[in-house]
């Protein structure tokens, strides 16, 4: 089965080609079938590979072709099929497949149907390339392709200026990080002379000094910060809401943002040689988790709440990989893929039923009118909130425990600080998740008059139901001490700390996070159902804080004033003053000088024979005079 792993990449690529070239002629029904079938087949192959890998000790490299050969330097286009990449493949294709199916219903009215599915397939293909790559160059190719697809899909409704802007923003902001990532890859090549994972990781302990390892990992991490929307490059993700909802789900759950976490986990052999980088990863993750959660508290746009929640959850994942708990990070990535895709698709279903309404202040009371959507959204929100025994509970708790107990972070106070931020964030997470539930589905209806509320078609609710089941039971693959995920990933993260300190402390912390989640849910219920006037009064009482949060700490404005506008001014100075004035001025001035000279001197050509003959005579006289007088 492993020898057929290349089929995982082939199917989505075929889907892209078929829908891209003849999709407009085959009709909508076939476009949907081809796109979903491509990803579904990939998933099936992934399942086959998964079973073939059970019990294997090592990953397998599957060469496809020799891409670049220059002397001794070789880049193979090869796939690395090991436990980590297989798990990622399953998440990408599995969740991706459900999102594809959902899109059939969601995009049914759209005129650029074939284009949409072509891009979705390309997105999945890019992400799979990234995940399955066996060297840094192929990883980089996938990395950039993912960025391209996000640009195309976020700006899918490019008639709307805001969508076009958002696509551009996503592309440019992630490019900032990608620049660092590219430099990191170059530094790896300069240091090792090869880009293959196996060789780099093998040589790393001998070759790398701590300083060099720190430089490489920080550069790589810059790419992860951009792609996975961490501070300070997270600003593109909330705006990415401008794309169609399935795209948001795809970006937030299966593809794109998880790339950074995957990359750090994949290159953990390098990161572990650079303790500073590890600490930085953990700290940035924790701070981002908290920071984004505070913003999510006050957003009124349901998709924005989810977007900030994604940033926050990605922060958890980076916290996990930063403290060396790679398996926990990947586990949280998996459960997050389930419940975040579920939440987004449910939100899309709400939008679908409310004729595109996104503002939670204009929802309410939907739970009886959209029963399936309500149940699935509730399942997703409970999983996100870390409600005991649901998927998010296990994965988040695992991360917090690992952060508390990490051997990678030497300072005990820093570990406790990270844990504290994590638990506070867990409280905020549960609060905003249920705030969204209560505002959207409970309480009196605040829906605009004349909106015909209706449940979405089966093609949309079926994927929701499947994802809801996954979000509820998905955590069971990672129960502490029995963790199937950890066991499965062990060959990749072999030297990963196995020591669990005191069992009682662990259970106590787990109970604490369960209490925190439930308390937050009760608080949300009190504030938004029992006493609905309270949030308004609070926001007036703490008006400054409220404004700060609802304006997202004015970060967009700060970036605009501090970075974008100065650069834009510089660009306009360079293009209009320097380029047009000085560069073009020199060229045009020279041309104008010769032009004018010609203009004046051509008057010498009078057309009168006597003038010419006089010139000849004078010339002859001068030449003869020169010869005589010499």
């Amino acid at each position: 089965m492993l020898d057929f792993a290349w089929l995982i990449l082939l199917f989505p690529l075929l889907g892209v080609l078929i829908n891209g070239f003849i999709g407009n002629r085959t009709g909508r029904r076939w476009v949907g079938r081809v796109a979903c079938g491509a990803v579904g087949l990939s998933f099936l192959v992934g399942v086959g590979v998964f079973f073939a890998l059970l019990g294997e000790e090592h990953g397998h490299t599957i060469p496809i072709f020799s891409w670049i050969t220059v002397g001794d330097f070789q880049i193979e286009a090869a796939l690395l099929v090991d436990q980590l990449s297989t798990l990622m493949t399953l998440v990408v294709t599995g969740v991706g497949f459900l999102i594809h199916v959902y899109s059939i219903g969601y995009m049914a009215e759209d005129e650029r149907y074939a284009r949409f599915f072509t891009l979705l397939n390309l997105f999945v293909f890019s992400m799979l390339t990234l995940v399955l790559a066996d060297n840094f160059l192929l990883l980089y190719v996938g990395w950039e392709l993912v960025g391209l697809c996000s640009y195309l899909l976020i700006g899918f409704w490019f008639e709307r200026p805001s969508a076009a802007e958002a696509g551009k923003k996503a592309f440019l902001v992630t490019r900032v990080g990608d620049f660092g990532f590219a430099l990191g890859v170059m530094l790896i090549f300069a240091t090792f002379g090869t880009l293959s994972y196996a060789q780099v990781f093998e040589q790393a302990p001998q070759t790398l000094t701590t300083g060099l390892a720190t430089a490489i990992t920080l550069l790589l991490f810059a790419g992860a910060v951009g792609k996975s929307a961490q501070i300070p490059l997270y600003v593109w993700l909330p705006d990415a809401m401008e794309g169609p909802t399935p795209v948001s789900a795809l970006i937030h759950a299966a593809t794109m943002v998880t790339a950074g976490v995957y990359m750090v986990a994949r290159t953990h052999a390098l990161f572990e040689l650079a303790p500073t980088s590890m600490t930085l990863v953990a700290v940035i993750g924790a701070v981002t988790a908290f920071y984004a959660a505070t913003i999510a508290l006050v957003q009124n746009d349901i998709k924005r709440v989810l977007a900030y929640s994604t940033i926050s959850q990605l922060g958890y994942m980076f916290l996990a990989v930063g403290v060396g708990a790679y398996a926990s990070g990947i586990f949280h990535l998996t459960t997050h893929a389930f419940f975040k895709a579920l939440l987004f698709l449910s939100a899309g279903s709400v939008m679908h039923g409310l004729a595109g309404e996104l503002d939670m202040r204009k929802m309410g009371g939907l739970k009886d009118k959209m029963r399936t959507t309500y149940r699935t959204f509730l399942a997703g929100a409970a999983a996100l909130a870390g409600f005991p025994l649901l998927s998010g509970f296990f994965s988040k708790d695992e991360i917090l425990w690992r952060a508390f107990n990490s051997s990678i972070i030497p300072s005990a106070s820093l570990r406790a600080g990270l844990w504290l931020i994590g638990i506070v964030t867990a409280f905020l997470t549960a609060f905003y998740a249920f705030r969204a539930v209560f505002l959207t589905f409970w309480g009196p209806s605040r829906v605009d008059e004349g909106v015909h509320i209706h449940e979405s078609p089966r093609v949309m609710t079926t994927p929701l139901t499947i994802l809801a089941v996954l979000a509820i039971v998905g955590g069971l693959i990672g129960i502490p001490h029995l963790s199937a995920v950890e066991g499965f990933l062990e060959p990749v993260f072999a030297h990963h700390e196995a020591a669990h300190a005191s069992g009682i402390l662990e259970w106590a912390l787990m109970a604490l996070s369960a209490i925190v989640a439930i308390a937050a849910i009760i608080l949300a219920q009190y504030m938004y159902l029992v006493n609905p006037g309270l949030p308004g009064r609070l926001s007036q009482r703490y008006a400054t804080l409220y404004k700060l949060l609802s304006n997202k700490y004015y970060v967009d404005e700060i970036y605009m004033a501090g970075i974008v506008n100065p650069l834009r001014n510089l660009a306009s100075f360079l293009s209009q003053t320097f380029d047009a004035g000085i560069i073009d001025g020199a060229v045009n001035g020279l041309a104008a000088f010769f032009g004018r000279t010609g203009e004046e001197t051509r008057k010498l050509q009078t057309g009168y024979v006597r003038n010419y003959s006089l010139a000849i005579v004078l010339g002859a006289v001068i030449v003869i005079g020169y010869i005589i007088l010499k």
Binding site: K603, Q605, T606, G607, Y608, V609, R610, S613
Partner: protein
């Protein structure tokens, strides 16, 4: 015997007259004639030096000059004739199309 310098002086005078003629006259045929005169003056100078130096080289050159002059007249008159057919004039000031 008349000194060589007299011949040379005559040659120079004829040449200058011819140059002035080319410069000031407007009739193309007269200008052509003046050019012939320059060649004649040059030929006279050649012959004079040939005599003075007791060498036949100069006279050989004169034959060459005469042949060139004949060819030039043929071509020149042909050009003038064809211009005249177009413009009904041989005034070179009228023939000034090739200018800025």
């Amino acid at each position: 015997m008349i000194p060589s310098s007299y011949y040379l002086a005559l040659s120079a005078i004829i040449f200058v007259i011819a140059v002035v003629g080319v410069l000031v006259r407007r009739n193309a045929i007269v200008i052509l004639m003046c050019i012939e005169m320059m060649m004649g003056a040059a030929g006279l100078a050649f012959v004079t030096f040939s005599r003075y130096l007791n060498s036949l080289d100069g006279q050989v050159v004169v034959f060459l000059v005469m042949a060139v002059a004949a060819a030039e007249v043929a071509v020149g008159l042909g050009i003038i004739l064809s211009i005249f057919r177009h413009k009904e004039t041989t005034d070179v000031d009228e023939i000034n199309l090739l200018k800025w």
